[in-house]
Amino acid sequence: MSQQTNAAQMTGAKMVVQALKDQGVEVVFGYPGGAVLPIYDELFQQNEIRHVLVRHEQGATHMAEGYARSTGKPGVVLVTSGPGATNAVTGLTDALMDSIPLVVISGQVPTFLIGTDGFQEADTVGITRPCTKNNWLVKDPDNLAETIHQAFHVATTGRPGPVLVDIPKDVQFADGTYTAPKMAKVDHYQPRVKGDIEAITALVELIEQAERPVFYTGGGVINSGPGACQLLGELADSTGFPVTSTLMGLGAYPASGKSWLGMLGMHGLYEANMAMHDCDLMINIGARFDDRITGRVNAFSPNSFKAHIDIDPSSVNKVIRVDLPIIGDVGHVLEDLLRIWKSRGRKTNKESLAKWWRQIEEWKAVNCLAYKGSDSIIKPQYALQRLEALTKGRDRYITTEVGQHQMWAAQFLHFDAPNRWMTSGGLGTMGYGLPASIGVQVAHPDALVINVAGEASWLMNMQEMGTAVQFRAPVKQFILNNERLGMVRQWQQLLHGERYSHSWSESLPDFVKLAEAFGCKGIKVDHPDQLDDAIMEMINYDGPVIFDCLVEKHENCLPMIPSGNAHNDMLLPSDDVRAITGAGAALV
């Protein structure tokens, strides 16, 4: 026993590495600096954990997000004090908004310097308190290992999210007793996962009678795991109820499935939004009634009975008042729901359902994604259609930046499995996609990982191409280059009298030369006839590629629910694009 106790004595820095190993961590994304050198020294002396050296700490957090979203495991980041930690703030906020499990370990100045405005000192726990699920400053090496284990528990339990552990440098040097994961106290934080059976039974009764039902699914289904996605598929296919999904939930129900309506929301499909507006039973599964989804709140699905399955009680009744809340993990609730529905004879209102689908087919016939083709200019939608056709069936992962290209990707690329689509939804972080694609590729070295990007977003974290080259991550940067901040330009056209204030770049780099400078491959294409060959060249190249696809500069992303409008008041491609005035202009 005493021997074991001795064995558990080690320095704080060693404990960090031991705790990561015991948590099953395979890779850490990080950047060294003065206040984390002891931990880096321990990393150097072992081979189990891989370290990916980023070029900027924001890149590390987005890589960890990409890793986490594509694997379902927490992403781990290691940064130094002060600027290292503050650079991680955007990624932490992004992960909080999109419920991505991240564990960020930051160095801190030694405890005796805290509060003296020491070199590279920042109040890291203070700064990151509102952008983490929880954070800790560890001042006693005896508490360090337990705190890291608790951090992993909190990040991955309940509604996932980012956590941060701030470790002063003297604590990294000091000796303490290591606590094994199973000895760590985590009993206090155990969110409820089983839904209330009476409420679930009530939902089954509604499912049996509903005339115009719709499943409105979100990222919570994906966070609940592949099992939950399978249950959703079974439920949707056996009831025959239509399924629409938020941006975050794409892939939870297969896009090739017979019940699939496509994405809903501001740039969602007409049929999806109309179904939401006209339904009589809305079953929200792991989504949160985001303002991009609801449009005008007081006109949101006015005549429906709304059920909401969510693991986070604060999501319920936050924006939209629901009639039947079910607090629990999506997987557990769907399992009970299916079991009860089957045991009661798998009933649905078939006659009304057939009529409902006939109505939906009419909406589908509107063909809301139509766009004017061109023989001479690459339309961004066409580029994505070709990308979809040429990569379909491959082991493919897609990340995106933020803007028009992101919405077109959500509209034109199809996902038949979860964890294949990584995008910054809640925070809308430009610069997310490139580092995220590297994180995905690190987790799936043999997969085809494509970042669908706009040139403006992509430039925000382009330094990470250095990381991609150094770590042989053959990520494909598919840049739809319109030389504009496309979404900003579109809003200025619609809302600000076509005054295009600072929404274009006059000095973009030559992306092919940029690729060469980074030591990877650059491909430029500006004609529709060359597109297929260029895409195949990109796919077949064994290494990172920057693909500069020059597209139509003034294309608008449609359909669109202008801010402040209801779901049944969409701007369609067939409409004359008109100026938006009134209350909607004040909204974002």
Binding site: N134, A202, L206, L281, F305, D312, S314, R321, L324
Partner: protein
């Protein structure tokens, strides 16, 4: 479609006690929040209120269980029923928060606040201040020839009333602790 056989406001079937869901009437609620006594937990609670734009009318905090590392934060807040429910759900989501009790809806409760009031005056005003203090059961805890410091405990409204009376009599400074509250009855 037949309506659900669930009564609105039945907490058994809904996530929380749902009062009139669409009421826009502002309600004052006293919340007792039991938290782990660790650094930053108060900042987390206050940050939630400022970050999401909720009101704090009064907030008190002190350790209540040294061995169990528990503190009790008592918050008086004002909002529509929907906002109050959100506040409770958001508080419950904070990792070091162990329990959230809405004393306003969980049955009867007692609320007390302690105040210290400094009143300066001479002659009749001084005598009147002392006389009123007796009526309000305020104690004199400090005295000079030209001032008193009164200590009084009671519901916030009682302290308000006393302060209003003292103002013309020379009230020059007041310190209040904010509300501490407990549910009535035996069970914790």
């Amino acid at each position: 479609m037949s309506p659900l056989h669930i009564q609105q406001g039945s907490s058994k079937h809904s996530a929380y006690e749902l009062r009139d869901p669409n009421s826009e009437v502002l309600e004052r609620h006293t919340l007792a929040v039991i938290v782990a006594n660790e650094p930053g937990v108060l900042a987390r609670v206050i940050g939630l209120f400022s970050g999401r734009g909720y009101n704090i009318e009064s907030l008190t905090v002190a350790e209540t269980d040294h061995k169990g590392h528990r503190s009790r934060i008592t918050i008086v807040t004002v909002g529509t029923p929907q906002v109050i429910e959100q506040i409770k759900a958001q508080l419950g989501r904070i990792v070091p928060v162990h329990e959230v009790h809405d004393l306003t809806v969980e049955g009867a409760s007692v609320e007390r606040e302690l105040a210290l009031l400094k009143v300066e005056g001479k002659g009749d005003a001084r005598i009147e201040a002392l006389r009123l203090a007796e009526i309000f059961r305020a104690n004199v805890v400090d005295s000079t020839l030209e001032s008193f410091v009164f200590e009084m405990t009671g519901a916030p409204s009682k302290i308000d009333a006393f302060a209003d009376l003292m103002r013309p009599l020379g009230l020059c400074e007041i310190a209040r602790t904010g509300v501490a509250a407990l549910a009535r009855g035996g069970a914790a």
